[in-house]
Structures are given as structure tokens and as C-alpha cells.
Symmetry: D2
Subunit: 343 residues, 4 copies
């Protein structure tokens, strides 16, 4: 049994980890930390976990976590980069769900996250935990940078096209829509139901932190620079991301449907829908799955890819557990086979 520690167990990615891991047959939840709710029963705060998760939140500390085989960081940015090194030194593996280890270049990280990186050498060691790209590296990694929710949906939508050279790389547009849980469990007026219900808005159009992450991934896949416009939108629903990605096709791009089906053949958590489909975010709600449809409107030379995930599952906690399974030699789908609620 893998002994698990979760740092930051009271946020939405933390409780989603608890939900998934509570029924995972190969692991035991040893420690769940929370600065704000230490001493409180986990199932008092989250009654959905009654009967599934026992025990109380504890203060985060290296001591408390030392006996774990694996620690997940479900914390705000800036925490994992301060604690990971000590854990790794004790032989504890680390999966970080925050942004601390996602970018390779410390200068770029510092620009977008507003402070110098505390452990820049770990930026190099960290494996970007997108199994559809880095499965082999993940198996042997000590430290995983779990991808952001937007970057997961956009990269999975673009990888077949970028890797195959089917599209022009200088003017890709990703118009992405997210449910409100992506903003986390923080007491902020703009995320009240009265503020976000029955309304829709774009945000961070000037530049969003997931832009350099997406670009880094695409440029690695392409082996060259990529021009990307990325506009996130806040949608009046709780879970789900829908990426609508636009690109210009190069001559001789071939059969797009076959290209996508081929690229993701055998992938347990990427599902290419039949031609003409329009994926609904609800069909992946609560499950570790990306559903994708490829379109060429009016038979022109613009390709439109529609890609949906649950931001808290394939966009966070589910993907983290997928990484865990790979790191510990567990079959990749264990604990992650579930069917989305409909309706």
C-alpha cells in the first residue's frame, strides 16, 4: 500500500484527491494537512466523505509527512517549491498540483508568478505530468509537476496537429471556457454565486499564467516557436472546461479524424468522438477523461478542435492519481474508472 500525504486538503483539488483516493485499492491516506482547519475532522468539513475518510486535518510539517511514500501538494502557488526538496531528500516522492514546477525557465516562472523561484534546479528535474506526452519519464520520476487545467485541455487538443505539422504554428487561438471551481475555494466576492451565476465573462485577456505553460508544451512538441493567443472565460457552472481551438491548416494535412484517433489509440483517458460530434462538458464531469472532436467548418482551411475535461479531475486530481499509478507501478487506470453522471 502506498502511504499518501496530502498538503492542503481543504481546497477543491485536495478534497477531490480525497474522493478519488478513498476508494483506491492500492493506497492509504496517512496524513492530510490544513493550516486553517487543523484539528477538525475531515468528514465534518466534507460530509460527502462520511464513512470513507476517517481522521482529522493536521498542521503541515516535514515531520508529519516524513513517513509517506508520496506527498501531493494541493496548495496555492509558492508552497511546494519551499517544501519539496526536504521531502525528496527523505525519499518521499512528490506530485505538485500547483504551478511551482510547471515551467522550465526560472526567469519565465519569476515573470509570471511574481517572485524568484526558490528551487530552480528542481524545475529541471521535475517531470511535466501529462502522461500522453511523458509516460515513460513519469514512471521513473521523483517529482511531478501536474499540468494546469487549461493547459491539459488545450495541449491534448493540439498535440496531434502540432506534432504532425498539419497546422501553421504562428497563429493558434485557444478560446477556453471554465466552470467556477477552477478559481478554488477562496473567500472572494467575484466568485460568489450572486456574482458569477447567470453571467459570463472573459478574464485576464492581457495575459494569463497558463499561457507560457501551454506555449512551452506546444513548442516542445513542435521543436520550434509557437504563436498562441489564449483567452479564458468564466462560465456559470461549477465543473468543466471546454477548449475551442482554432488553427490554419497547412497544405496536405491529411485525414484529421484519423490523425487524432491514431495519436491517442490506446490512451485510456483520451476519447476521440465520432466525426460531427460536439462534446458536452457534463459527459466528463467527475471522471478522468478528455473528449475531443475535430471539425473543419464549411470545408475551409481552418480546423476547430473541441476538447472537454473536468478541471478538477483530468485537469487536476485525477491526472495526479494517474501519475501516481505510473510512478508506483500500479495499472494506470486503477481508481480512475468511473462513469460521468448524466444528467
Amino acid at each position: 500500500m502506498i502511504r499518501i500525504g496530502i498538503v492542503g486538503g481543504t481546497g477543491y483539488t485536495g478534497v477531490e484527491l480525497l474522493r478519488i483516493l478513498a476508494l483506491h485499492p492500492e493506497c492509504v491516506i496517512s496524513v492530510v494537512t490544513s493550516r486553517s482547519d487543523a484539528g477538525k475532522r475531515v468528514d465534518e468539513l466534507y460530509p460527502n466523505l462520511r464513512g470513507f475518510v476517517d481522521g482529522v486535518f493536521v498542521e503541515p510539517s516535514a515531520n508529519a509527512l516524513a513517513g509517506c511514500d508520496l506527498v501531493f501538494f494541493a496548495t496555492p502557488n509558492g508552497t511546494a517549491m519551499r517544501m519539496a526538496e526536504a521531502l525528496l531528500a527523505q525519499g518521499v516522492k512528490v506530485i505538485d498540483l500547483s504551478a511551482d514546477f510547471r515551467l522550465k525557465d526560472p526567469a519565465v516562472w519569476a515573470h509570471w508568478y511574481g517572485e524568484s523561484h526558490v528551487s530552480p534546479h528542481l524545475l529541471q528535474e521535475a517531470v511535466y505530468g501529462l502522461p500522453e506526452v511523458n509516460r515513460a519519464l513519469i514512471r521513473s520520476a521523483r517529482l511531478i509537476a501536474c499540468p494546469g487545467c487549461y493547459p491539459t485541455s488545450v495541449q491534448l487538443a493540439l498535440l496531434p496537429l502540432v506534432e504532425s505539422g498539419a497546422i501553421r504554428l504562428d497563429r493558434i487561438i485557444a478560446d477556453v471556457k471554465s466552470g467556477v471551481s477552477g478559481a478554488g475555494r477562496k473567500a472572494e466576492i467575484p466568485m460568489l454565486m450572486s456574482e458569477t451565476g447567470e453571467s459570463l465573462k472573459a478574464y485576464s485577456v492581457k495575459g494569463h499564467r497558463h499561457w507560457p505553460e501551454i506555449r512551452q508544451g506546444l513548442e516542445q512538441a513542435a521543436g520550434q516557436t509557437v504563436g498562441l493567443t489564449f483567452v479564458p472565460h468564466l462560465i456559470p457552472m461549477i465543473r468543466g472546461i471546454h477548449a475551442t481551438v482554432y488553427a490554419e491548416l497547412n497544405a496536405g494535412y491529411g485525414d484529421l479524424q484519423a490523425l487524432f484517433e491514431e495519436r491517442y489509440r490506446g490512451e485510456p483517458f483520451v476519447d476521440i468522438l465520432p466525426p460531427g460530434s460536439h462534446p458536452d462538458t457534463r459527459n466528463v464531469r467527475g471522471v478522468n477523461r478528455c473528449q475531443i472532436a475535430v471539425h473543419r467548418p464549411l470545408e475551409g482551411n481552418t480546423v476547430v478542435i473541441l476538447s472537454v475535461i473536468d478541471n478538477l479531475v483530468k485537469g487536476a486530481a485525477g491526472q495526479a492519481v494517474q501519475n501516481m499509478n505510473l510512478m508506483f507501478g500500479v495499472e494506470e487506470t486503477v481508481g480512475l474508472r468511473s462513469v460521468g453522471l448524466y444528467p
Copy 2:
């Protein structure tokens, strides 16, 4: 393996049965019928089932269902009472999720459902599938009448009080709130999102079909007549029922919290919350569970019971599978242990 047939697989209770049974280790889905979508792939209509349910919808017929061990009816009222007898005669067990077998008195049934009952003798044989009341009978039943969603939430809220004589029986009030999926998957203007979103209303205040069903259950528990006012409300959310039940306490009613905990001790799917709790419907969304809290406002002599279920799970398909497990000697919780999504 239990060979399963589902009649009416395209409605919300039908697809919810598919979702649960797809991962149930002791059964195999043999036949799924649909009059409207015969010939279509199940996962074309319901992309959440891709990779989990194979095959196509077939026309409903006795032949198609004859090879099954168990047939679920997830049909509108009036279908099961016309088909059940033939199946039972062939040794096929039946669980009806519609209202066809819920009432014992054919005259009462005819009054509320607007036609004469076709198989009145089966009304007597049918076991009302509320395991918290009829567990032993269910184990040996051929024909189960699965309780309605409102009746499940209200009866579980009242049974400890009614059985113990703690409350006056002549003036019970059940104010119940339901998500819109309770109305089913039917093309009706009043259930459009534009009509039901961002609004709230009561309906059927003059009298609702679940009223005689609830009263029948309470009177059986009490051994005497019961006076009940029942008002259902339509809430702008998809899943979930919240019953708020009011009754007047008799002298010497004792410790209410203990009464409820005692009554449901060992019940795998009824969860009495700690004193002072207010259950959220979301905490049981997608799971086969009823969470209950007991209150006595301002220390007066009115008891208020708060009871939440998912109308499609403990109020329909989940409860049906719980019945199936009992009927076929499978451990009662198999296929039904899951954790509600939060948020």
C-alpha cells in the same frame, strides 16, 4: 452473473441504471430497450457511457427479455403493469421503478393514476422496495415496486418518529424540494432551462400522486391513520431532493438524536448527521445515500427533520440496485459504494 434487462433505457432512471450497472461486478447488461431509439448505439445517445456500455437499444418485447434473470422497468406509469406478469411467468424477476405496483389498494391506484389497474393481484404480491422497512421480504420477492423519490425521502425522515409514537400523527407536514430531473426526460416547455432556471415554484398543491404512497407507508408503520400535507416544489438544480418535515411532539418523546441513530444503526445507506447539522443535497449527489438531521427549533414541541437524497439514486436507480443485490444474494452495497462529488 445476473443477466439484466432494462425496459426504457433512454429516460433518466434508465441511463442512471446503466451508469451504476456498468461497473457492477456481479451482473451483465443483456438487453436495453427503447421504443424511440431502437437501433441506435447506447453510447451515441449517452457519450458518458463510451467504453462502459456496448451495444444498441432494441425494441421492447417479451422475447427480447425472456433470457434475463431480472428486468428493470424504467418506463412511464402504465407499462410495467402490462408486461410484468408474462415475465414473472417465465421466471424472470422484476423491479419496477415506475408507480405501477406501489399502492396496495387498486381503487386508490385507479383514482390517482387515472385508469384501472391491469394486474390488481400483483399489487398484493409486489414488495415495496424500501430496504430499511422490508429487507427480509425483498430477499425473497419476485416483484419489487421501487419507491418514488419523494416517498423515499419523506418516509426515511419519519419512520423513527412514527414507529416509536414520538409524534402526533394527525398533522404531519412534508415540504419537499426537488431538482428538475425528477420530471424525467420529456420534451415539455415547462421543463426548459429558460422556464425552470433561476426560479422556484410549488406544484400540485391540490394533491400529488406521491401523497397516497407516503401515507400508505406511514400508516403501515403506525398501524393507524395518518394526516399528511405534502407540498412538492421545483428547484433550479438538476439532481437532489430535500424534504423538510414538520410534526408535533408527543409528551415523553425522549432523545430524538438517539432515536434516529438507533433506528438506522447498521443501515449502509442512511446516515444520521451530528446534532445541529443542515444537510446539503450535493453531498449525496450521484450516490445511494440518505442524510438526515433532526432539529427542535427554539426548543419547542415541533420537530423538524431534514432529509436529503439524490432523486435518481436513492430515489430510483440506486435503490433499485440495492433491491437487486438483496434479491440475488449479493452483498447489499456492491456496486453502490461511491463518494459524492464536491464541489
Copy 3:
């Protein structure tokens, strides 16, 4: 023109006052205060007001408000009772939308609001601003206590029955459902969309501050003590209150529909629906109106009254403007004639 000051212009009742008063032909908005946003343009915070409300928020102070004819307090409880006296002394009239002047008994006020009242003598002077009860007193008042949202919906539902003696007064039940805007514009985790969307819960079942206010109003109407159970619920929508009120009819109660129509004949903002109606909260969204339907389920002796308002309009800012019109001799409906959005 009536010169208006608004204290606390950044909360939901404050901005709703701005919305209504911006188009009111008999008044001019002179001062809008906000501690948190002083110096900021009003229409920067609230872009719906662009072109309708000019100017900036100012720090609240007696000086800033001295030149007004009327000051509205759209503040948290505890502010108006500290500032009203000075304003009244300068001849400024006051309408308080908070709870500071709603209860007559200082001891009851202190019990429910957790501190001693600062201006207990004003509790006696303040007129409870329910025009359907106190129209004449309001016309000559200096200080109005605008009713709470729940109390408005419940009292309007019960007044005809209580005043006429048609019901037993010892066991009235008010099960009330409210949209989330009733909780105000405060940064609190439980009011995030991720927490309140797609879910439903009761709260404060042990006792809610609006209970003594409702009881005070009913006891005044009845001339005797009243037994009331009041349970509020939080509904996943932004605006709207639906009160479902239950009472036992006394013998000889007469024609209920006629009783209600008679009681509210000529009332511009109370609308008795035809027999058999079920009011939707959406039909009064954004408008100063209470719609009511009266039912007697199954022809028994329980009466059920369904009453809907918009908590921010007839339950707060609209009712406040209705009071203003009465106080300043303006026709009562000026600025308040609008049609609810459908859908």
C-alpha cells in the same frame, strides 16, 4: 426633488436602490457612501449603472449626509442605530434597510442581535415600513424600519388569515426558500457559486433573526400570542423568495380566495393570483410585487399559502422606495412600475 443619501452603496440592497432611484423622476442621488470603495466611480464598480449614475463613492460621515432630505441605510446591522439620531436631529428623514429598528422590545433585539441597542427610544418611534399594514403611519414618519425579506413574504401571506381569525394561531409553519443574494455581498466561502450552486439546504433551523420580527408582526395583527415555526432554505438562484405557509383552519373560515382578494384590493404591489395558481419567483424578479396563491390541499382543513417576492425589491430596496414615496407625498407607485423579465 428629494435629495437622497445612501449609506452603504456597495452592497446588494445599496446598488438596487441606485438602480431604482436612477430612473425615479422625483429624486436626485446626492451622496453615496462606501467605506471600502471611497473615491472609486460608482459605475466602475457597477457597469450596469454606466450612463445612469454619475459620481464617486464617498466616506460615510454626518457632514456628507447633512444636506440630504432622506438617507437610506443599506448597511450591515449595527450601523444605522449609531448614526440615525444625528441625522434626524438635523431634519433628515431616515429609512433603514437593516434590522436596527425592526423590533420594538430592546431586550428581544439584544438577544437576537448580540449587543445592546444603542438607541432604544428610537425603537419605539420607528415605523415598521410595511405599507400594507402601516400606510398612514409611514406618511408621517421620520424613521422607517424597512421589513426584512423573509418577514415581508410571510406576513403578506398570513395577514388576511390572522386578522380575520380564520386560522389557529398556535401552530403556524413557514417554510421559506431564498435565493443567495439574500446573504449579501460578502466574501464568504459558503456563498461561493461552487458551494451553493446545484445544491439546496436549510439553515438556522434552531432559530433565525427573522423569527421574532415575523412573530411581532403577526401578534400585532392578531392581538394575541402566535406560535410560529420558521425554517429558511438557501436555493441555487440569485434572486427570489418563495414562502410556503401552513396553518390549520378554524371552523367557519369562509371563502379563502375572496378573503385574500378583499384584504389586498387596491394594494398596488400585492397581487392575488387566480385559484389553483402556483406563483413562480421569476415573475416578480426585479419588480416591487408580491404574488400570492391560496390552496386547501385535498379539501382538508390545512390552508397552504404560496407567496413570492424579489428579496431585493419588495423585500428591500423597492419597499424602501415605496416608503419614500409615501413619506414625501409622491404617488406610491412612482419609480416602481416595471415588468419582470421572462424568461
Copy 4:
């Protein structure tokens, strides 16, 4: 007083016309037709109109409408083109809110609407009712083709750029999000709240009927062909459209903010937000207004325009009344000055 007829008064654009016209001081609603609800009181179907709209729905017929000065068609496509000519011949002016007269080329119309146009000569006469483009023509028109909701939001977003030559015209992308009321009041399963709530999807990516309408408008503004990709999305909210429009800037494009402010200076219903703004659809809900913000992400050469309207107001009924005011010499804003509800 303008005598008004409304054909198709029971759909969402019809009842929105009723809501606006009920308070319009210069017109009287003479006839409201409905095939399905003839004989029923208007305010029985729409209780929000109680006290504002009297009378009953009548069967549609030329006779019933002959006495009107103006007839609005709020009908499905295909009705107005069969009835307009007869009305015009009797001197009745016509504003069509359907798509019957929006396209100039009968062949293009036939291609997208699936039948031959019945009155192709009227396609030439009809004035496209976008006042920001055709104000002078509208004043003297007999027949107005009221623009579609998507086309209004996208054209207003692009006109300043297209007219001024600031952008490349061969690769414009319009990613547009709409609330569900855009689908109308029709009994269809995909528009049930259980189907559209808490989920998001694109639709008609292969080609949508509003694409030729938008392109026609842009090409008229540009005087040359335009390459446009248009992808609509269905959002879980009732009202509101958010267009996110992407285009590549030509060299020397100048000050974008000034360009937009200049183009719409004096326009009563187009509001250019300050630099850096992100419009919310809620801020224009229920009002005849388009709010627009212009961005250049990361200071690159892609311009992103954010444009919001209420699909039923500036995208339908409000714009129709704006056209009416112009046609009848009423000040353009009469009946249309209102403030959006917040929250």
C-alpha cells in the same frame, strides 16, 4: 399612438416585445396573435404581465392585423415572408424578428433556410435593422429585417475595425457564447434544464445560419470579401451573448480604444468600456445595450474584442423597438431606458 400588432406573441421574443411595449408611452398593443394559445388571456400565460397587458391571444389573420400601424413578427422562420406583402399593401409597416428578410441573395437564403424564398423582391426592399449602420434607411423603411442575436454582437464588435481597414479580412474568428433562451420556447429535449444546466457545448460548428448574415454585413462594411469562422456555444444561463472576436491587425492600425469610442460616439445603445475591461453579460441583461471592450493580448498583433448583449433585447425585441422608434419619428431611446439588474 402607434397601433401595434404582434404575430407570435407566445415565444420569447414575443413576450419580450410585450414587456417593453407595455410601458412604452407612444404605442398601444392592439392585437397579439398565437396559433397555439388563441382565446387564452395573455397574463394567464405570462403572470409577469398581470396589470400591464390586458386581453387575449387571437388567431393570426390579415383581418385581425389590418387596423395596425405596425406589425412585429416574432415567429419561426418562414411565416413573415408569407404574410408581409399583404400587410404592406394595406399600408401596415412590418418589423420581422425572424430571419426571413435578413439576407439579400435569394439563393443564399434558400441554401441556409432549406426552401425557396416566397417573396424574393422583398429581400431587396427590406432594410437590415441595425441602427448603428442603417439609421437613415430605417427611418423611411416600410419593412425591417431585425438582425439576429449573434450577428448583432459580432458586427458591433467588428465594424470599427472593418470599416477602418485596421485588420486583415481573410481570417476573422468569432467564438460566441449564448444563453439558452436563444433557442426559443420550444418543447425539445436538448433544451431541458437537465440537459443544458451545468454543462457547456459548441454546436453547428460545420456551419450556422448566422454565418452568412454576419459575413454579408461585414462585406458590406468592407466593400470586399471577408473570411470568417463562426462557432456558437450553448451556455448554462438563460439570457446573454458574449462574443469573443479575434483578428490580425494590419500595420498602422492606430489607437484601438479611440477608434471604437469614435465610431460609436453618440450611439445611445453601444457602450465602449474603459481599457482593460472585461464585460459581464449580466450588466446588459434585460436592457437594450451592447458593451464592448478591446484588447491586444501581450501587446501582440492579435486584437480581441469582447462584446456582450442580451440576446432577447439588443439581440431581438429591444432592437426591434429601437427600429420602431426610428420608423415612427419617436425619440430613439423612448421605452428603452432601463438599468440592468445587479446581481
